[in-house]
């Protein structure tokens, strides 16, 4: 869990893992509207990989590596955002 990554000049990135959510077909008439669906309770959490800083090291984290444990996943607007 948490393979170490090298710090280079390229900023490491991650993203969702697996198949993207199914796109809803555009309505026959009218402008195409993008549908952003919210997570649903009782359904699987979307898997992802993300670079991380953890206790002095840069690592790569994959959500599915935490199966078997309870996970609290927190998002926030940005570092140093006060609250």
């Amino acid at each position: 869990m948490g393979e170490e990554i090298k710090a280079g000049c390229a900023r490491p990135t991650g993203g969702p893992v697996g198949k993207p959510p199914e796109e809803k077909p555009a309505a026959q008439d009218g402008p195409r509207k993008e549908v952003v669906s919210m997570i649903k309770v009782g359904k699987a959490a979307p898997d992802f990989t993300a670079p991380a800083y953890h206790k002095g090291k840069f690592i790569s984290v994959k959500l599915s590596e935490y199966l078997g444990k309870w996970v609290v996943l927190c998002f926030y607007p940005g570092d140093f955002t006060f609250v």
């Binding site: 490491p12 009782g42 959490a45 800083y53 953890h54 996943l73 927190c74 570092d79």
Partner: protein, 132 residues
């Protein structure tokens, strides 16, 4: 997880958070460039280009059991997060035979849903139990 790079995470941890928490942040600080993961979770604010204060509880099977999303100026309540995890753990351990009523916390009574309890909750559970 935020859109900040892991380098900024290191600076924030080393220069500020480690002064609040001994030893620094104990869990991984995740970086979500361009908000791709936040978009998948429905918490990326495209207008502001940042993520809102979303908090997701994911069980050992990878199932989302709950979430809470706040706009930026109000912080979360960690005690409430822990209470919810404890309640979900209790329900899971009982294989769904027990339920945690409103305001439940460790030590308070649980309910055993079933035919005998229908219409009888008022006899065993009082509204003041919803509060601390």
């Amino acid at each position: 997880m935020s859109i900040d790079s892991i380098f900024v995470h290191k600076m924030w941890n080393d220069h500020e958070l480690s002064k609040m928490v001994k030893g620094g942040v104990p869990f991984p600080m995740l970086s979500d460039a361009a908000g791709k993961v936040g978009t998948a979770y429905g918490v990326f604010d495209e207008d502001a280009g940042v993520e809102t204060r979303g908090r997701f509880l994911i069980d050992p099977d990878g199932i989302v059991q709950g979430f809470e999303v706040l706009t930026p100026p109000v912080g979360r309540n960690v005690s409430e997060t822990l209470r919810q995890i404890q309640a979900f753990q209790l329900v899971r351990k009982s294989k769904g035979t027990q339920a945690a009523p409103s305001g439940w916390k460790p030590g308070k009574m649980t309910l055993k849903p079933g035919p005998d309890l229908v219409g009888k909750v008022w006899e065993v559970w009082k509204t003041d139990m919803a509060f601390d």
